[in-house]
Symmetry: C2
Subunit: 81 residues, 2 copies
């Protein structure tokens, strides 16, 4: 089964990478860009399991490794079984 | 208006970052993980414009800066106007 995990900075956490992207876009003429925040998305292939078990599994992976819970939020979705 | 852009490696492109994440997950006991691929997601705040104009704008930004078209694919969605 396949899942997607999205890791994003919490609101209020400064995002220098996003700011750098925004400035580069302005330099290229995309001045309608008002803000950019950069996150990660992970596509994860899992062994087949019950959907409920997979959700617990994904949540645990995010909390233990994938996300820095101090500054990042996560969400996940199971896209195919 | 707010848009999201997802940048992912094309199929077949080697992903050492994803492999490292997979190995770390295995070390932590998440052995049901068979594959991990890491991409970027960007949340972009734009000045208000027509939806069609915004889509052209986003596509152009991806092609010119956000994605490396040789090894990466992109997709975008407008999440609020």
């Amino acid at each position: 089964m396949k899942a997607k995990v999205y890791i994003t900075l919490k609101d209020g956490i400064h995002d220098p990478q996003g700011r750098a992207v925004q400035q580069s876009l302005h330099t290229l003429g995309f001045e309608a860009v008002q803000d950019v925040r950069v996150g990660k998305c992970l596509e994860i292939e899992l062994q087949d399991m019950e959907k409920e078990a997979a959700e617990i599994f994904l949540k645990s992976m995010c909390q233990k490794l994938l996300a820095n819970m101090v500054i990042e939020d996560f969400r996940y979705e199971i896209v195919s079984t």
